[in-house]
């Protein structure tokens, strides 16, 4: 069991999401950066889909009831672990990307993100063991199910921890986070042709600033607006995280994990799956560029990402075996 002693806004239990139910109106949910979740679970020897905590606002203070290991991935937070043995209180800083041993009774404090507003992941050996709902432990914050009672965490919450199934990597080694490059590769969207040539030209040429109203539902962008050839009323249709919708004000919104399943705004582009994780690390006031690619480039980018994950898993398996 883990007890939440203090908690900033918007910390929630997430895993790799809840695909396959969009036809019922159920959104994807899940960690904004699923690469960071996979890394954290590999570091701890967990199932790839084990649930973790997604944190974007400090502080987060947790007390661990049992001996375990934790791993922090995603955006770096200043983190420390305090343990009391006898009369000696000990405070050590926690390195990101490592399997950090935690003694029963220790307190983990995440105090400051290096990039305010970006996401960090806290994983524990065995995973956060909330019940599976429609195949996932992710919190659906808008519908209010999954995760811990369908809501964000608050001080006083108790988080159940699952049984440990694998072995952590050795303390000598760590896994580096993949850094976002703030360039989102995108395919032309289903409604690309409805936009003026000027808009089509503008999308990949100008920097887009992330607005403050951005959240897990979508990133709202600011820049010179993207006009349509003529006003249109589209019928509601299914939409996906990564879709770039343009409401009548001409300012695009990149749909994220908690976006609703249907929409009616024209979609000028769709961010490729291999780059969607970057949305987790684009806090307000930072800028982003789009780069248009074709389907082959999108598939190649996904294959490359998959290859990185496969190689990482192999390296870690070798490291764990070497400990015997």
């Amino acid at each position: 069991m883990i007890e939440v002693l203090r908690c900033g806004a918007m910390t929630s239990v997430q895993d790799l999401g809840r695909p396959g139910y969009r036809h019922l109106g159920v959104g994807h949910a899940g960690a904004m950066d699923c690469i960071a979740v996979r890394q954290a679970n590999m570091i701890l020897g967990n199932d790839p889909a084990a649930a973790v905590l997604e944190v974007s606002v400090a502080p987060l203070v947790l007390r661990f009831a049992e001996d375990t290991h934790v791993a922090l991935t995603g955006t770096d937070f200043t983190a420390s672990l305090s343990s009391t043995s006898g009369e000696h209180a000990q405070d050590v800083s926690v390195l990101p990307g490592h399997a950090t041993p935690v003694r029963a009774g220790s307190i983990l404090t995440l105090s400051r993100p290096t990039i305010p507003g970006a996401h960090c992941y806290v994983a524990v050996a065995g995973g956060i063991d909330v019940p599976l709902v429609l195949g996932s432990r992710s919190t659906d914050l808008s519908a209010g199910f999954g995760g811990l009672a369908g809501r964000t965490l608050a001080a006083g919450d108790q988080l159940p921890v699952g049984a440990v199934t694998g072995r952590c990597i050795s303390s000598r080694h760590g896994v580096r986070s993949i850094r976002p490059i703030h360039i989102l590769r995108a395919l032309p969207g289903p409604d690309w042709d409805l936009f003026t040539a000027e808009a089509q030209d503008r999308l990949p040429k100008q920097p887009w600033r992330i607005r403050h109203q951005s959240n897990r539902m979508g990133l709202r962008l600011h820049g010179s607006s993207l006009p349509l050839r003529q006003p249109v009323e589209l019928l509601s249709s299914g939409v996906m995280p990564g879709d770039v919708q343009v409401p009548p004000d001409g300012l695009p919104i990149v749909l994220a994990n908690d976006a609703q399943t249907t929409g009616g705004y024209p979609r000028i582009a769709s961010v490729i799956e291999a780059d969607i994780w970057q949305l987790a690390h684009m806090p307000p006031s930072t800028s982003v560029f789009f780069r248009l690619v074709n389907r082959e480039e999108a598939a190649a980018a996904m294959a490359q990402l998959q290859q990185y994950l496969t190689r990482l898993a192999l390296t870690i398996a070798t490291d764990v075996a070497g400990e015997d």
Partner: protein
């Protein structure tokens, strides 16, 4: 990787989408769902007169697009489910202080009495075309055009779950509490979506829906 199927001539049609078109969307959606493994599909999501298909990014899209384009012109329209879901509704009185806080506004906009709004809203049989927006929210076709009322200028921050509402020329039921821009005329106590049920969504595409006045809240 995404592939949205929306034939141009159909997409340009103004609302409402004819039932015959939607029946072909259901049929194509059902056919694709049956062939989910073959085409390595992740999601098949019917919309209003369109269909979103999400395939595994590693697979080539050509067999899928060929199959969809071959199916669409010849697919047998899938009839409605034959199931009628009755939604008991406690309609608002027009006082603004009850289950239907926007009833007075809808009456003012439509020029109809509250009793007449309730009559026209509950005497129609609606078709659930598709689900979306929130888990279990049904896009219903068939609203009496005389009841059409524009959405609120500023969406409510909190629309209670079970709210029965009108937005433009559509009507629907909010399954969960959250922001909402439609005009609330009543409330039902039915649970529209429960992830622990075998079939989590009360409404399914193809269902008929009727609102029954009284006893809802």
């Amino acid at each position: 990787m995404l592939f949205t199927f929306a034939p141009q001539e159909e997409r340009a049609q103004p609302m409402p989408v004819p039932l015959s078109v939607q029946q072909r969307v259901w049929a194509l959606s059902e056919w694709l769902t049956e062939h989910r493994e073959e085409f390595r599909l992740r999601e098949v999501v019917p919309g209003m007169g369109n269909l979103l298909v999400v395939a595994n990014p590693a697979s080539s899209l050509a067999p899928l697009t060929d199959a969809v384009l071959a199916q669409w012109p010849t697919v047998q329209p899938r009839p409605e489910s034959g199931r009628t879901v009755e939604i008991p509704v406690q309609y608002g009185s027009g006082s603004g202080e009850d289950e239907g806080p926007d009833m007075a506004l809808v009456a003012a906009h439509t020029g109809l009495s509250v009793a007449e709004i309730i009559r026209r809203h509950s005497e129609t049989t609606y078709q659930a075309y598709c689900l979306g927006f929130q888990p279990g929210f049904g896009y219903l076709a068939g609203l009496d055009p005389s009841l059409a009322t524009p959405r609120r200028d500023t969406p409510r921050v909190r629309t209670p779950s079970g709210s029965v509402a009108i937005g433009g020329n559509q009507t629907g039921i909010y399954p969960s509490t959250g922001p909402g821009g439609w005009q609330i005329i009543g409330r039902t106590s039915l649970v529209l979506f429960d992830p622990s049920r075998d079939s989590p969504s009360l409404l399914q595409p193809g269902d008929s829906v009727r609102f029954v006045p009284g006893g809802g809240a």
